[in-house]
């Protein structure tokens, strides 16, 4: 009985020493990528959006948790530009050693290619997707002056409506264009730079409708300033249980923003496993769960393969919808 704790101490000390030796090695080995020594220093997580936005916040929450398991810092590097295409293309061209990661948004893969030329678009096959993160739902809200309380009011209005979008090639634009086409509503598309100005325009009755991400709309919805008409997710959103989905209303517009972490193509499997393990540890923490809840994000922690399959599916679906209804995301057709 007496040497039980002693043995434990020895064991602990020994493992601590090995760990120390390992990390020390890791620090020294700065040379060519040797996957067994991963991570050999800080792992950069590049974000294609400015600091402070929802994508950036997700990256920071993930980095904070994962760095604990990984034992190395994960600094978040913001490289805004071209909806995230700039950052994604840059990381895709980095060495595939797991030291450089990118936070990927689904719209960049599934919707942006419908609005920009082929060489500006990002191909998901240029990356190894490590894990899916969460789903960020879009909600259609009506301005106080429009008088719309449900989507029936919009279809029954029998006139041209103005709607704000968060920009060309975004889910907000696609969702509304497809929805209005399916519902035979004629509308004028008014693009804004992001969700905030679009919401402000709706609050000030400059546009009658707008579709933005739930986290941005929620404070004004709960304050009763704008009326939520529809959510575009396939199931009702848990944060907004009383608002019907577009599907329930009889429309086929499954649009949401998804996010995932990706690494350059050809990253060794054992490196990917280590990274995945660190993400999965993070997903389990209360801090991360709390973060998702606070930002109205629905966890969608699926595997990389599933992400690729789903996103490709959505890309095909959107392309089909756009062609079927003869919608152009650029211009005002």
């Amino acid at each position: 009985m007496t040497h039980f704790p002693a043995r434990r101490t020895v064991l602990g000390a020994a493992s601590a020493l090995t760990l120390l030796a390992l990390t020390a090695c890791g620090n020294v080995a700065g040379g060519p990528a040797d996957s067994s020594k991963f991570p050999a220093g800080p792992v950069n997580l590049t974000v294609g959006q400015a600091a402070g936005g929802s994508t950036d916040l997700i990256a920071r929450a993930l980095a904070e948790g994962a760095s604990k398991t990984l034992g190395k810092p994960i600094p978040v590097v913001n490289k805004p530009g071209a909806n995230g295409a700039l950052a994604t293309k840059e990381v895709a061209g980095k060495p595939a050693d797991g030291q450089e990661l990118v936070l990927l948004t689904a719209s960049l893969i599934t919707i942006t290619p419908l609005a920009v030329s082929a060489d500006e678009a990002v191909n998901i096959d240029d990356l190894d997707i490590l894990a899916g993160l969460s789903q960020d739902d879009y909600v259609l809200v009506a301005s106080p002056g429009s008088g719309f309380k449900s989507f029936k009011d919009v279809t029954g209005a029998g006139r041209n409506v103005t709607f704000g979008t968060t920009g060309v090639g975004t889910g907000s634009q696609l969702a509304q264009k497809v929805l209005f086409k399916q519902a035979n509503v004629t509308g004028t598309d008014v693009p804004f730079d992001s969700g905030k100005p679009a919401l402000t325009a709706a609050l000030g009755n400059q546009v009658e409708l707008t579709t933005i991400q739930l986290g941005e709309a929620m404070p004004q919805i709960t304050a009763g300033k704008v009326a939520p008409l529809l959510v575009f997710s396939e199931d009702r959103n848990t944060f907004l249980p009383d608002t019907p989905t577009a599907k329930e209303a009889g429309y086929d517009v499954p649009v949401a923003q998804y996010r995932a972490v990706a690494a350059p193509k050809g990253t060794p499997q054992d490196v990917k496993d280590k990274l995945l393990a660190s993400f999965q540890d993070t997903f389990k923490t209360d801090t991360y769960k709390e973060f998702n809840k606070k930002n109205m994000l629905t966890p969608k922690e699926i595997s990389g393969e599933e992400v690729v399959k789903e996103w490709k599916g959505y890309a095909a679906k959107y392309k089909e919808l756009v062609e079927k209804y003869d919608i152009s995301l650029s211009g005002t057709k």
Binding site: S117, T162, V168, D189, D193, K196, T200, N205, Q206, S330
Partner: protein, 510 residues
């Protein structure tokens, strides 16, 4: 007195030790660069912008604002003591300030300037405190049509009120508008002037342009000037002006406060114009105008009050409408955007701590300046002895380092270098970079707001006149654009009769 609550909370924000410290740092830097001729507040803010990236937005803006109004104080010191205006806004102070110093009244001149600056600044802050909530109450009425009208008016005023050649200001503004079109069109997704470069897809970032034109351009331009050895400054004694001096100057201080306040609000106006207008007004009003240029206390007190009042009041259009009134405010605009804060009518309501924190920091900053400016005169004068050969490379390095850190992008560094060269050439050929930068900022706003408005109006441009605020602004726009033409024509007609006779006289003589 409900509306005073956020004002009081603003003081709580300012009195946090970090914010106080940054306020102090800001005003000290401001005073330093105010002393240094060449390096103005716009350049300094451009250079130091990236340093504010990692601090809280309130703290960042408090510091940058401190630099701005601190520079107005600093500029005075060299004007009075060395006949070397550190800032454009202190040029007119030289006329009487240096004469006073020669008469052994340097202390009085500096004292008057400091007191005037304090009163002018404080008056403008009080104006800001009461005006901002009124503008903010219209916040939600400001939609795309209103912004279109505001941006139009802003660009017009910038191009017409700027000091220097109007044609050159218009050319610079046109260039700024052109640069604003670069990037992916936000309405169609089509690429404009990007030459297939994804780095340009979002357009040219405002910060590298400002850092290049103001920061690097200024540094390069200053290198050309041979550094004058600083003369031994006049002795400063007895900084408290006598009762008689104060009595003479009090009218000038009062008028300067009001004049500066209104000229600061005007887009295109600002500290420089305010100081010049005040000097002209004091001279016109004086019973013995011949005293001016020979050490008249009003000639120092008036302009110094006006430039500080204008420096402060130029925050009003920025913080309440999101329209920068001058180049320095355009930089503040950039600083706020970096921090993720979009200045505009919603700012007071959505971000009261930031708004009132910044506004109230100006009270504290002005007090700090008043306390520091007089005892530290000797130290500031010594700074003039730092050689350009040391100062220039250090500032250039800080600029380029800073440019990299904003987006971690080497492309931005290249942009800074390119715009640095452009800025240098512009200065060399007598173009002010101010109108370019302002038109660049307002150009984006103008284009997107106008296209958005037209979409909402269904393509009918008369819609702009169907909304009270945009209609009023457009009427003002037309007045500002047409008035000089009418006045010019009227003056011509009046002048034409004597001109004809004069011409015939000449003919007779021939």
């Amino acid at each position: 007195m409900d509306f005073l609550n956020p004002v009081i909370n603003g003081f709580v924000v300012v009195l946090e030790p970090t914010n106080l410290l940054y306020c102090l740092i800001g005003v000290v830097i401001g005073m330093l660069i105010g002393v240094l001729p060449g390096l103005g507040p716009a350049a300094t803010i451009a250079i130091l912008l990236p340093l504010t990236y990692n601090v809280e937005p309130v703290t960042a803006i408090i510091m940058l604002a401190g630099i701005f109004y601190g520079a107005q104080y600093g500029g005075t010191i060299t004007s009075v003591l060395l006949r070397l205006p550190g800032e454009a806004s202190s040029v007119v102070t030289v006329f009487d300030g240096y004469q006073m110093a020669k008469q052994g009244k340097a202390g009085t001149a500096l004292g008057l300037a400091a007191i005037g600056s304090f009163i002018g600044g404080t008056a403008a802050i009080i104006g800001l405190t009461f005006l901002a909530p009124i503008v903010a109450s219209f916040a939600l009425d400001f939609g795309p049509p209103e912004y279109t009208a505001l941006a139009l008016l802003g660009i017009l005023l910038v191009a017409t009120i700027s000091n220097g050649s109007k044609a050159k200001a218009l050319i610079a503004a046109a260039l700024g508008l052109l640069l604003a079109t670069v990037g992916r069109d936000i309405f169609t997704g089509a690429s404009r002037f990007t030459f297939g470069n994804l780095q340009l897809a979002d357009g040219i970032d405002f910060v590298p342009i400002a850092m290049g034109l103001f920061g690097l351009g200024e540094i390069l331009y200053n290198l050309e000037e041979r550094h004058r050895a600083a003369k031994a400054p006049s002795k400063v004694t007895n900084v408290w002006p006598s009762r008689n001096d104060l009595k003479q100057a009090s009218g000038a201080i009062g008028r300067g406060s009001v004049l500066g306040f209104f000229l600061g609000i005007l887009p295109g106006g600002g500290a420089t114009i305010a100081s010049m207008a005040s000097y002209a007004m004091e001279k016109k009003r004086a019973k013995q105008p011949e005293r001016f240029g020979k050490g008249a206390p009003e000639g120092v007190a008036g302009p110094e009050t006006a430039n500080n009042a204008a420096a402060t009041s130029s925050f009003i259009p920025l913080l309440t409408l999101g329209i920068p009134a001058n180049a320095t405010m355009a930089l503040m605009f950039g600083a706020l955007l970096i921090q993720g804060v979009t200045p505009g009518p919603q700012l007071v309501e959505q971000n009261p701590e930031l708004f009132w924190g910044v506004v109230n920091s100006m009270y504290i900053g002005n007090i700090l300046l008043l306390i520091m400016s007089l005892p530290l005169v000797g130290i500031f004068v010594k700074i003039l002895r730092v050689r350009a050969a040391i100062l220039a490379p250090v500032t250039a390095l800080i600029t380029l380092l800073g440019a990299y850190t904003i987006n971690n992008s080497m492309f931005d560094v290249t942009l800074v270098v390119v715009f640095g060269i452009v800025g240098y050439l512009m200065k060399k050929f007598g173009f002010e970079p101010g109108p370019l930068v302002l038109a660049f900022v307002l150009g984006e706003l103008l284009e997107s707001s106008m296209r958005r408005s037209l979409l909402v109006f269904g393509g009918d441009p008369t819609g702009f006149f169907g909304r009270p605020i945009s209609a009023t602004l457009l009427v003002v726009f037309v007045l500002v654009a047409v008035l000089p033409v009418i006045r010019g024509a009227a003056a011509k007609r009046k002048a034409s009769t004597p001109a004809v006779t004069a011409a015939s006289e000449i003919k007779e003589k021939v």
